[in-house]
Symmetry: C2
Subunit: 319 residues, 2 copies
């Protein structure tokens, strides 16, 4: 059996684990990302943690297999260079040669890409996109991440940063985006986006709503989901609108790549049918005739606590 | 030397020729497409024309080479099936198995795709995209066609119809499109789109303009170009607006595929700097920071009378 180390680097936490080629995570640990102002110190602690994990599972690994590589999913990860570049939600600024820094501690190949690309490869190797050659993955969290696969290969593009569907401008002069431009898809279709939509709806209507009783700062996508379950009209309207704008962005992307499926994952998809139903309805409406009925909208098949680690490890098996 | 037959099928004319593997068109002929209500009769005349072309060049072909295949660029061409499907500007309705029909007359492999994809392969093999692995081609004619290459391979997608950037919805509830939806990019960024823009500008302003002296039906993209050369403000504003909307669509596509270059061809690009300058300016403005300065906007390097035939033939050499 072959194994890979998967590392998922988030703004707050880093999770890492040992994953088998059949998608089983046999051991996992975590550490804070944001406790380290300095990437070198972070790498020392991370690699020590991985060494501990490997030693405590040495028996299993020696009995039936070998570790063949390390895969990393990181914000603003550049696949070609193995670097993390100016990630807004990490403390380390500039260009960090993370893959090379980790390689110094292990005699193993190290591959690195952004978290959404890692998720896409995870779905292709272990999840909902098994056997597919043309699909893409959308992560609906704080922002909207995406990873595109065409002809069975990840699209990294010329820069290594392809797959920024969240920054497709969907409304010229629309909502302010963290990227400095206006009207990006992720300012509408994300956990953050639906909160903005609810706040706007509360301001612009007199409709009764459970959400009106909260401080504006308390409103989260989870609270909107809970309100929707109770039949709250503002919450339901916000899911409808979010699904609609998401659908418009997805239909535009389909016009370019014509995928077999789009896999949706991340925090906002925990709301299940409340987001999937409007997304599916408007998606079919927005699609060009050629593509109507040809694209499945699917939930992740590896979501759960190990998903990001499995995705990162999957890169090693796909390379 | 290897040769291929290239066939470019347009709504009005069909052009076909014999192209060498170094991109020289050694012989070419043409026929009407719209003279045939029936695809079978069309194929009989077309294949007879190709036979004549092959016979009259038999000496050259026998001396130094062989014909290895036939490539076809056709509206609504499906690469996987070799079919032309419900092309709005062809008289043959339904699904026409054109590749198979032509194969019956020749003992050669036949490949078929849409005209923009053929153009993209032409640029990759013979033109401005030589050596590039990630780029796309935009044809600005009656509509806006596009062909995307990633990882050195054409993106046909799951359906075979990928690359419909012209039908990215750029303004919800925007201009009516021939596809039945509203606000598609091609209703703004195409030879037809700029004419619509000029007509709207003439209606909504009192600005003096050479174009105001024409019948509305006489206004073409070529006339707008001629007016622009004379410094006509409406014409210049229309190019500026067209370049801007084109740039927005291109920037959105770049966010997905991160190409090294975008190659622009087709009727509207005959206007040179009048369309390229505003397109380049707004393109850099619209790009996400990661991509600024990473994408070249280039004119075709195989434009001219044989471009479409070269593109169709190039498919044979790339396959």
């Amino acid at each position: 059996m072959k194994y890979a180390i998967g590392i998922d680097i988030g703004g707050t936490n880093t999770v890492f684990g040992i994953v088998s080629e059949v998608g089983e995570c046999i051991a996992e640990d975590r550490m804070r990302t944001d406790a380290f102002d300095d990437a070198e110190e972070y790498v020392r602690v991370l690699t020590a943690g991985i060494q501990v994990l490997l030693r405590s599972n040495a028996e299993a690994l020696e009995r039936d297999g070998e570790v063949i590589g390390i895969g990393i999913g990181a914000p603003n990860g550049n696949y070609y260079k193995g670097t993390v570049e100016n990630a807004p939600n990490l403390k380390w600024k500039g260009v960090i040669p993370l893959a090379d820094m980790i390689k110094e501690f292990f005699n193993l190949p190290v591959v690195l890409t952004n978290d959404a690309n890692a998720a896409a490869i995870g779905e292709m190797i272990f999840g909902a996109a098994k056997g597919m050659k043309d699909f893409f993955v959308i992560t609906l969290g704080t922002g909207l991440g995406s990873g595109f696969v065409a002809n069975g290969k990840m699209i990294y593009g010329h820069t290594g940063f392809a797959g920024e569907l969240g920054h497709m401008i969907i409304f010229e002069n629309g909502r302010m985006c963290g990227c400095g431009r206006k009207g990006c898809l992720e300012t509408y279709a994300s956990a953050t986006g639906i909160v903005k939509t609810v706040k706007k709806m509360l301001r612009n209507s007199n409709e009764e709503s459970i959400l009106r009783d909260m401080d504006f700062e308390e409103i989260t996508s989870k609270k909107i989901y809970e309100a929707a379950k109770k039949g709250d009209k503002i919450a339901l309207d916000a899911f409808d609108y979010t699904g609609k704008i998401l659908a418009l962005g997805l239909a535009n992307a389909v016009a370019i790549t014509s995928p077999e499926a789009i896999i949706l994952l991340g925090g906002l998809t925990q709301s299940g049918d409340y987001i999937f139903n409007p997304a599916k309805k408007y998606f079919e409406e927005y699609l060009l005739n050629n593509f109507k009925g040809t694209v499945k909208l699917l939930p992740s098949a590896i979501s759960g606590k190990n998903a990001a680690v499995l995705g990162a490890a999957a890169m090693v098996f796909s390379d």
